[in-house]
Assembly symmetry: C2
Homo-oligomer: 410 residues x 2
Amino acid sequence: MSQKASPLAPTHAPKLPALAGVRLAIRECNIRYRGRPDVMLMELSPGSTIAGVLTKSLAPSAAVDLCRKHLKGGKARAILVNAGNANAFTGKLGKQAAELSVDAAAKTLGCKKGEIFVASTGVIGEPLPAEKITANLGALKDSLKADAWADAAAAIMTTDTFPKLATRTATIGGTAVTLNGICKGSGMIAPDMATMLAFVATDAKLPADILRTLLQKSADKSFNCITVDGDTSTSDTLLLAATGEAKNPKPKSAGDPILKEFRAALDSLLTDLAVQVVMDGEGAEKLVTIDITGAASAAAARRIGLSIANSPLVKTAIAGEDANWGRIVMAVGKAGEKAERDKLAIKIGGVLIAAKGQRVADYDEAPVAKHIRSRDIKIEVDVGVGTGKARVWTCDLTHRYIEINADYRS
Amino acid sequence: MSQKASPLAPTHAPKLPALAGVRLAIRECNIRYRGRPDVMLMELSPGSTIAGVLTKSLAPSAAVDLCRKHLKGGKARAILVNAGNANAFTGKLGKQAAELSVDAAAKTLGCKKGEIFVASTGVIGEPLPAEKITANLGALKDSLKADAWADAAAAIMTTDTFPKLATRTATIGGTAVTLNGICKGSGMIAPDMATMLAFVATDAKLPADILRTLLQKSADKSFNCITVDGDTSTSDTLLLAATGEAKNPKPKSAGDPILKEFRAALDSLLTDLAVQVVMDGEGAEKLVTIDITGAASAAAARRIGLSIANSPLVKTAIAGEDANWGRIVMAVGKAGEKAERDKLAIKIGGVLIAAKGQRVADYDEAPVAKHIRSRDIKIEVDVGVGTGKARVWTCDLTHRYIEINADYRS
């Protein structure tokens, strides 16, 4: 597959600072790829807490099964990730392989098994050769260092055309904290290759239950608001670890006012990473931002937004630079959420096209046609029934998507 | 747009016999198209009953609104259809246009307004010039004839590449009855053009309430089991009218044993028409039949089947002739229905590929690779939790789909 960067790729990747309590290592383990690092180990200092959001797929990978189990403990000492093999739909062998990796990592780092988190991304249906990972754990441990975030982001890539990184700072009760995140994802499942994975760490001190609430709320506004092709991987994994090294004052709850800045920083960081995934969407030529307002609830607004974002007809229209607002009406109508046809309003590029159930009388297509030829497309829809709102992101559906996904083997 | 017939088109259209109580007329009304008939009038004899299944879109067309209202009466004297303009999202003007057509047709045929049914297919967002239809109603009435089914099927086409017709016979309590049906549809919404429309008539004598039950059950096994791109039109309309001219014995209920043959004939006819829509799916090169077994219920089986059928990654894999069964696992997992990963079994072209949560040990890809190069693809999935089953149909997702939908204006 081509590794030419997406036309939507950021011009430069941000430089992530070292984060107290986090060390990283990468290594060429030759699981599937040759001549590139394909395993990443993130070590977390003792006492680190963790929360996660995992795929809702009912056919999850062996790694997802283990993460779900270990997240109950809320404690973490390491995240071990491989690229090239998703270890999904691999039955007992897959389960054994994931457990073998966890056991070996716990032994190498001298911690409990329940403090090790694993993630695998790549081919579905082929058992993971865990011994290729476990044989390298000693070397990985020996090469751990604080300033390897860029290396880590590159090592977890599969069909991604650029590494995805983001960093933010905030204060909690006057104490400065940092958040660093890395991510991979291109299609929900790329050609034979799977998954969106994101690993975020902070030096903030936060109990696991607070971390869980913060992460779920933030994921609902970021990773749960993006779509490339509407397909959900067997392996989607988002983990947020907190090392506590910043020794900030302890918040009483996730809603504690002292967490205001942290919540905003987490939202911003996760949204940044999520939008990078869309920018690297298979075949993407345009980033599409869809704002829904006037829905019955925020959840309804998100579902309407995703109905538009997942519509092949909307996405091909945008690829064809055609301001086909009738398809947006169709997608709102099929979302199954409350909407008032005769109050619906649609804007593209800020220009009002339709309102009160029909095209506006003095609609001038020229500025809309100009907007839709740009890289950055804005769609706004007010469904006219309430105050619920949401923002979702997608990309266009191009010939290149078909090439990547249909012509891969030919 | 190209009118080259789909490679999946039937080699010849069936010849539909005249049906007692039904007369048809077509006419060039120049609503959008030039040089082809674009309006169809189906006249039904006095006393005809009717049932319908309409789009679930919450932004339905003006015609759908009117059909929903008139279906409550259960009586019909005519179905009036235009191609080229969907009269959807056209506000008050659209409502007025639909009502104008109904009023004029009722006057022309000398019946009640509530006995006239209308359907419009074509561009969304442009008010329907109803006067172009009403001005031609006299001429349409004057040219009504019994043997114009093929003409009628052609007049309702938009981006369809072939007319869609089907006929069946059955006996009800010893009396022979006939069912004729015509249909149009290509994408759920074709380029700027909308909708799946199907009109079925029978000379059987059946009360409207029985007709409703029969139609809904049959639609759930046919039109509600197909997808081209997962997009739902603002105008989808399926109507079933019964003229009663065959004067068969009256059934007590929809489940009456004397309707056994009729039910089977209706199922068969609707499935035939529905599969023809998939065969004319935009860009379709392959017809894909997906059988789901072992689901928690028939509805669950259908949802799992549609999750596979709507997955862009499954559809592009088939276009690329790649037996990528991992994507089928993904689509089952994302359907949100009960499934046992470790009991899941997948066959392509009758060959068992995966069972008990993993690829079978002796999997031979050669016969599967051969099958997937054919026009007619069979996928079977047993989800291992119950006895619910369903069959759904879709087509592959090809470059031609993108061309049709993205490159239309360029």
